[in-house]
C-alpha cells in the first residue's frame, strides 16, 4: 500500500470513526437510561410494569440487533415516514443494549443484601430514599465493570448499523474496498482503529471485573 493511498484511506476512515464515536455516545446514554428504568421497574415496579420490563429484556435478548435496526429503519418508512439513519441506529442500539444493561443493573440491585432494606425501613426511610441513598451507591461499584463491558460490545455493534446504510467506520472501509480492492490492507486498517479504541476499555474491564464467569 502506497503512502498516498494510506493517507487518503486514513482520512476517510477517521471521519467514519468520528461518526462511530458519536453514535456510540448517543446509544450509551440512551441504553443506560432505558436499562436503568427497566431494571428499577423489574425489581421494584408494581405488578404490571415488572412484567412489561421482563418481557422487554427477554424480547431483545432473544433476537439479533440487526433485526431491531431493520425493523426501526424500514418499519418507519413502511408507515410513510422518513427516519434519519443515525437516529434509527441510535434508537435501535439503545433499545437493544438497554435490555442487556438492565440485566447488569438488576444483578447489582439484587446484590445488596435484603437486610439493608429492613434496616432502612426501621430507620424510617421511604422506598425512594432507600433506593437512591442506600442501594444505588453500593450498586455502582459492583455494576461498573460489567457495564463498561457492555458499552464495549455496544461500540463494536455500531459496525452493524453500516448494514442499514450508515456511513461510519465500517462503512468507510467497505466503500474504499469497493473502489480500489485490497480488502486485507483496508479491513486490517479498520480493525486496527477499532482495536485502538476498544483495547484500553477491555483491559480496564479485565482488571476490574471479579465475576468473569457470569
Amino acid at each position: 500500500m502506497s503512502i498516498d493511498l494510506l493517507r487518503t484511506s486514513l482520512s476517510i476512515l477517521l471521519q467514519g470513526l468520528v461518526t462511530t464515536l458519536l453514535l456510540s455516545v448517543a446509544a450509551i446514554v440512551g441504553g443506560t437510561l432505558i436499562g436503568l428504568l427497566a431494571a428499577v421497574l423489574r425489581s421494584f415496579g408494581p405488578w404490571g410494569t415488572a412484567h412489561v420490563a421482563k418481557l422487554y429484556t427477554e424480547l431483545f435478548r432473544g433476537t439479533p440487533v440487526l433485526i431491531t435496526l431493520m425493523f426501526i429503519y424500514f418499519g418507519v418508512s413502511y408507515f410513510g415516514y422518513a427516519i434519519d439513519v443515525f437516529a434509527a441506529g441510535a434508537i435501535g442500539l439503545s433499545v437493544y443494549q438497554g435490555a442487556y444493561i438492565a440485566e447488569v443493573f438488576r444483578s447489582g440491585i439484587e446484590s445488596v443484601p435484603r437486610g439493608q432494606w429492613e434496616v432502612s425501613q426501621i430507620l424510617g426511610l421511604t422506598k425512594a430514599q432507600t433506593f437512591s441513598f442506600v442501594v444505588l451507591p453500593q450498586t455502582g461499584k459492583i455494576v461498573l465493570p460489567p457495564l463498561i463491558g457492555q458499552y464495549l460490545s455496544l461500540i463494536k455493534d455500531t459496525s452493524i448499523v453500516s448494514m442499514i446504510g450508515m456511513s461510519e467506520l465500517m462503512h468507510g472501509g467497505q466503500a474504499i474496498v469497493d473502489r480500489i480492492g485490497k480488502p486485507v490492507e483496508i479491513y486490517g486498517l479498520v480493525a486496527l482503529i477499532y482495536f485502538v479504541v476498544c483495547f484500553p476499555l477491555s483491559q480496564w474491564v479485565r482488571h476490574h471485573d471479579r465475576r468473569r464467569l457470569v
Binding site: 440487526l66 431493520m70 422506598k127 465500517m170 480488502p183 480493525a191 477499532y194 464467569l213
Partner: protein, 238 residues
Amino acid sequence: MSYQWLTLWGYVPEFIHAAWLTLEVTALAFALSVFLGLLAALATISPVAALRFIARGYVEIIRNTPVLLQIFIVFFGLPSAGISLDAYWAGVIALGLNVGAYLSEVFRAGIQSVPRGQLEAAAILGLEPSQIFAEVVLPQAARAVYPAIVNYLIQLLLGTSLLSAIALPELTGTATVINARTLLYIQTFAVTLIAYLVLSNALSWLAGRLGARIFHPPLIMGAPKRFAGWRLHRANRA
C-alpha cells in the same frame, strides 16, 4: 391486512429452509468455537511463553474488533491469501473464530476455578497429568462454565444474522430477499423476529434440560426469582 399475511404464507417453506440453515451454521460454528476455545484456554495457561503469547494475541484481537469486520476479513480477505470460501464456510469459520475467543476466557476461568489443592492431592495419589485434567478438573470446570457456554451459544445463534451481509440465505438474509420482493417490511420482520425468539428460547430450554440431566447433582439454570425488596418494604409497613 389479511391478504398481506396470505402473501407471506407462500414464503413459509423459504422461512423453514432459512431457519434450518441458521441452525446448521450455528451448530458447526459452535463446534469449531468450543474446539478453538479449549485450545486457546490450554495455551493461555501453558508454561510455554510462545503459546501463551499466540493465544493471548488471538483472544485480544478478536475481542476488540467487531464480528462483522471479522466476517468480512474471512470472506473478502482470505481469497487474497489464496483461500477461497463460500459464504457458508466463511460464516462458520468467522463466527467460530469469534466465539472461540470468548469461550477461551470462560474455559480458562472454569479450569482455574478448581482449587489448586485438588491438583496436588490428585498428583500425590499418583494420577497422570492427563488423568488429573480429564477426571478431576474437567467435570468440575464443565459444571462451572456450562451456563456461560449456553449464553454464548445463544449469542452465536443471533450472530448468524450478520451473515446476511455476505449473502448467506439464513433467516435475516431470506427476510431481506422477501422484503425486496413483497415490500411487506413489518410482516416479514415480525415473522423473522418470532422465528429467532422461538429458536433462541428452544435452544436455551433444551440446554437447560440437558444441564439438569448430565450433571450430578442436576444443574438448575434459569433466571433468579424476582427480587423481594419492594414487597418486603410493603409487608414491613403494614
